[in-house]
């Protein structure tokens, strides 16, 4: 006996197998990211006073990425429609665009990660948290020389900068570093996951999301390239496949639509 409903819908459920499978898979994905989002809430509510950063991330690249994903949701639907209409060229065009957009997303995301590696923060034993860039020349085993950010993400850092400005210790542009004795610091690190729970959850969630994007790129590229042979042999099933990866792609976008405000804006 062959397996039925691989291509056509089962009449009473109105679904073909792969589509139902994808919906179920996405349900579990919702729970996966749901678990992470609830962890985010839990950590944020539980954070010590003043220890949760506000808008520490650069919104611009993330905003561009959001736009990229929104556009790609249109192109992927177009590519599916092209298969339905029997236009292979158009399919290749739109699918190619989707792949490029997705790759651009990953590229921009990598750039963002890269900038975090060079961004530092420190906490003094008086619980002042200052963020900025290192002055490599002046930093050594005794001293940390940090060029503070204009917009401090932590309340204590803001206050600290204001007093420094008033005292004339730094200029308004503050390009010169402030020196801290390492022995006065309880915490000092670049913005890697270990820096604090915010960066921990930021990196975990966005990396998991980026993995989904990369996975999608691989699958989409397959359908764009060798997989597209099926267009000629079994077009109905090919259209199904594009529909199903399309569902997945929309989900990946949707996750980002949640991630963006939660991590960058709130």
């Amino acid at each position: 006996m062959d397996i039925p409903y691989t291509v056509n819908n089962r009449p009473d459920t109105g679904l073909y197998n792969a589509k139902l499978g994808m919906w179920l898979f996405l349900a579990s994905e919702v729970m996966l990211f749901g678990g992470l989002f609830s962890a985010y809430i839990f950590l944020r509510l539980g954070a010590d006073d003043g220890m949760w950063p506000h808008q520490i991330l650069d919104v611009k690249p993330a905003f561009i990425n959001t736009m990229i994903l929104i556009i790609s949701s249109v192109t992927i639907v177009q590519s599916w429609a092209a298969v339905k209409m029997g236009n292979l060229k158009k399919f290749k065009l739109y699918m190619g665009m989707t792949i490029l957009l997705a790759s651009a997303f990953v590229g921009i995301k990598s750039y963002e990660y890269y900038t975090k590696v060079h961004h530092y923060g420190l906490i003094t034993n008086t619980r002042i948290q200052v963020t900025g860039y290192l002055d490599q020349d002046k930093t050594n085993d005794q001293v940390v020389a940090i060029i503070p950010d204009k917009h401090q993400a932590f309340e204590s850092g803001k206050k600290f900068m204001e007093t420094k400005l008033e005292a004339g210790a730094v200029s308004a542009g503050h390009h010169e570093p402030i020196l801290f004795q390492r022995s006065d610091l309880v915490w000092f690190s670049n913005f890697m996951p270990r820096y604090n729970t915010f960066f921990a959850i930021y990196f975990t969630m966005t990396a998991l999301h980026a993995l989904h994007v990369i996975g999608a790129i691989v699958v989409l590229a397959y359908f764009w390239g060798p997989g597209s042979k099926m267009f000629h042999t079994n077009r109905a099933q090919f259209a199904n496949r594009i529909e199903v990866v399309g569902l997945f792609w929309h989900f990946v976008e949707l996750v980002w639509i949640f991630l963006f405000p939660v991590l960058y804006l709130l």
Binding site: M1, D2, I3, P4, Y5, R10, T13, L15, Y16, N17, A18, L20, G21, L24, F25, A27, S28, E29, M31, L32, F33, G34, G35, L36, S38, A39, F42, L43, G46, A47, D48, M51, W187, S189, M192, P193, R194, Y195, N196, T197, F199, A200, I201, F203, T204, L208
Partner: protein, 619 residues
């Protein structure tokens, strides 16, 4: 047997089938990398049984330590232990505290994630469900194979972890942070090759496998049901697997997320589960802090409570099949069982924090979780009542599957009932983390679920192999097992009430004396329980012999040896690739036994009605 009225029996001789199939498959295609759900089911079954045995073996050593603390096991067992895990973990054949903890954590992990779930879902679900719904295979055969082939590496990773420096994970199967996060951190710390990290990686792999399996199971049940097999005609076993698959699908991912976070804590130095201000061994722990140990517990139990119903639902399904077949009458209250199961599935997502009453809960939160926990006991009471009442009016055949299925009921009953004192937070204060808890759930999973698994093996073995297992050996397996199981687990309630806590590598005795005065009068049970456990191991020998002997030598049987009504008995035996010779059509409910006016005491669901056309309405 006068059973051979159904037409499929004409094909019992296997000469004329299989030709229309594809070209000859090579051995490895047929038995190793097969995509046939039956082969995969059997692969799951054998792997899971081996893990069950391993989980039991670990417990054999632990029970020795509990009964005779700080002595090396005799007859070379102690030497073997040292040879396996090294002098540091098992000095001179004696178990160290670390080794005990590691065996305990791995016993729990292996039993739950590598033995019972794969056996209940991977083996029985895979083998039986497509047959029972009248499908040629699972909806996605390749995914099905992929699921097994991720399960196996997951298990292998867990096995490897026994042999890395410091031994396997030793923070309990619950892996509570911060203990789990800081464990194994030392001068020789390897970021990957250490017990806890391998545990997390293994779990991630296993979760992925179970995800593939559960998607497949749901799609198969929804999409591939045979003609006429409406929802309310599904065998209860299929319903149980259906709800189980949803539990796995939705409960596991949060643990996946938690597992990734714990991995980050261990490898990337994050503080998801690590609060500020940890001082370990007099040293300030180098991390940012700000995390929450309770977050791990919430995420873990959000999975692990639904998970315990994953352990019990397939078992209930098997018991229902076997009971109906051997009482020769329909299951009593089939519909209420189905609804109760669905209800149970939904509510099981809302009770998790009853494992966390003592973490410092307020009245509101604890009242909520107490209430949901009490609510969830209701569907269990309904299901078990239906099963017991199904006996009424039956003509009960006590063959081996039935014995195990019948014994399941009071054992599950005891386990379930002792869940109630745990469920009230006030009484939980006294019972939490004691052997009372261990007794509670082992009654459910050991003489409960394991017995149901045995029932299922004895029941479907003829379908898988064409031969019956020996009834004599079966009974020799059953009676000692039943008695010894109770010998192990009944004293746990007395010990628990006396304050004997779980996870004590000393068994409560230090230098020959009870460490805690309160527990003094309950510790003498330890050796009794341990002897019961070792004898239980001996009592499995008839089963193991039976299992392999019957494969080649067992009594040959026809397609429907139990005179059953559900679709799996409508295939040739063993079923060929593709299962059914012609597409089955279902005409009636799953358990039409002893229908008044019929000439035999079972009316298979695939048999065309003789009398009127009205039965066909539902086609």
């Amino acid at each position: 047997m006068e059973t051979n009225i159904n037409h499929s029996n004409a094909h019992t001789s296997h000469d004329d089938q299989g030709h229309h199939e594809h070209q000859e498959l090579k051995f490895w295609q047929k038995y190793i990398f097969s995509v046939d759900h039956k082969v995969i089911g059997i692969q799951y079954a054998i792997t899971a049984l081996l893990f069950l045995l391993l989980g039991f073996a670990l417990m054999g050593y632990m029970r020795y330590q509990l009964a005779y603390p700080d002595t090396a096991a005799p007859y070379g067992f102690g030497k073997a232990l040292t040879a396996l895990v090294g002098q540091e973990m098992a000095p001179d054949g004696k178990m160290s505290g670390a080794l005990y903890n590691s065996f305990g954590a791995m016993h729990g992990t292996i039993m739950v994630f590598l033995a019972i779930v794969p056996l209940a879902v991977g083996a029985f679900g895979n083998f039986v469900v497509p047959l029972q719904v009248g499908a040629g295979d699972m909806a996605f055969p390749k995914l099905n194979a992929a699921s097994y082939w991720t399960y196996l590496p997951g298990g292998v990773i867990m096995l490897i972890s026994f042999f890395v420096p410091g031994g396997a994970a030793k923070s309990g199967w619950t892996s509570y942070a911060p203990l789990s996060v800081i464990s194994d951190h030392g001068p020789a710390f390897h970021p990957i090759m250490n017990g806890q990290t391998l545990w997390l990686i293994g779990m991630t792999v296993l979760i992925f496998s179970s995800l593939l399996g559960s998607v497949n199971m749901i799609v198969t049940i929804v999409q591939l049901r045979a003609k006429g097999l409406t929802w309310m005609r599904l065998p209860y076993f299929v319903w149980a697997q259906f709800v189980t698959a949803f539990l796995l699908l939705l409960a596991f991912p949060p643990l996946q997320a938690a597992g990734v976070m714990q991995l980050m804590d261990r490898i990337a130095g994050t503080s998801f589960f690590m609060p500020t201000g940890l001082v370990v061994n007099g040293q300030i722990w180098d991390h940012s802090g700000g995390g929450s140990p309770l977050l791990w517990q919430h995420l873990f139990w959000f999975l692990a409570h639904p998970e315990v119903y994953v352990l019990i639902l397939p078992a209930l399904g098997i018991v229902a099949e076997v009971v109906s077949n051997n009482t020769r009458k329909p299951i009593w209250g089939y519909k209420s069982m189905v609804y109760a199961t669905l209800f149970l599935g939904v509510v099981s997502f809302t009770v998790w924090a009853h494992h966390m009453y003592l973490t410092g809960m307020g009245t509101k939160v604890s009242s909520f979780f107490q209430t949901t926990t009490i609510i969830i006991s209701i569907p269990s009471v309904i299901i078990l009542s239906c099963l017991v009442i199904s006996l009424y009016g039956g003509s009960i055949r006590f063959n081996t599957p039935m014995l195990f299925a019948v014994a399941f009921m009071p054992m599950f009953g005891l386990g379930g009932l002792t869940g109630i004192p745990l469920a009230f937070n006030a009484t939980n204060i006294v019972l939490h983390d004691t052997y009372y808890v261990i007794g509670h759930f082992h009654y459910i999973v050991a003489p409960g679920t394991i017995f149901a698994m045995f029932a299922g093996i004895y029941y479907w073995y003829p379908k898988a192999t064409g031969r019956k297992m020996s009834e004599f050996l079966g009974k020799l397996h059953f009676w000692p097992s039943l008695i010894l199981m109770n010998g192990i687990f009944m004293p746990m309630f007395f010990q628990g009430l006396a304050g004997v806590h779980r996870r004590w590598h000393t068994g409560g005795v230090v230098n020959g004396e009870a460490l805690f005065e309160v527990t003094k009068h309950a510790l003498h049970w330890n050796s009794f329980m341990s002897w019961s456990a070792w004898l239980l191991a001996v009592a499995q020998i008839p089963f193991i012999i039976n299992f392999f002997w019957a494969w080649k030598r067992g009594e040959k049987v026809g397609d429907n040896p139990w005179e059953a009504t559900t679709l799996e008995w409508n295939t040739p035996t063993p079923p060929p690739h593709g299962n059914f010779l012609k597409e089955p059509i279902v005409y009636r409910g799953p358990y039409e036994y002893s229908v008044p006016g019929e000439d035999k005491d079972f009316t298979p669901s695939w048999e065309e009605p003789k009398k009127s056309k009205t039965d066909l309405v539902n086609l």
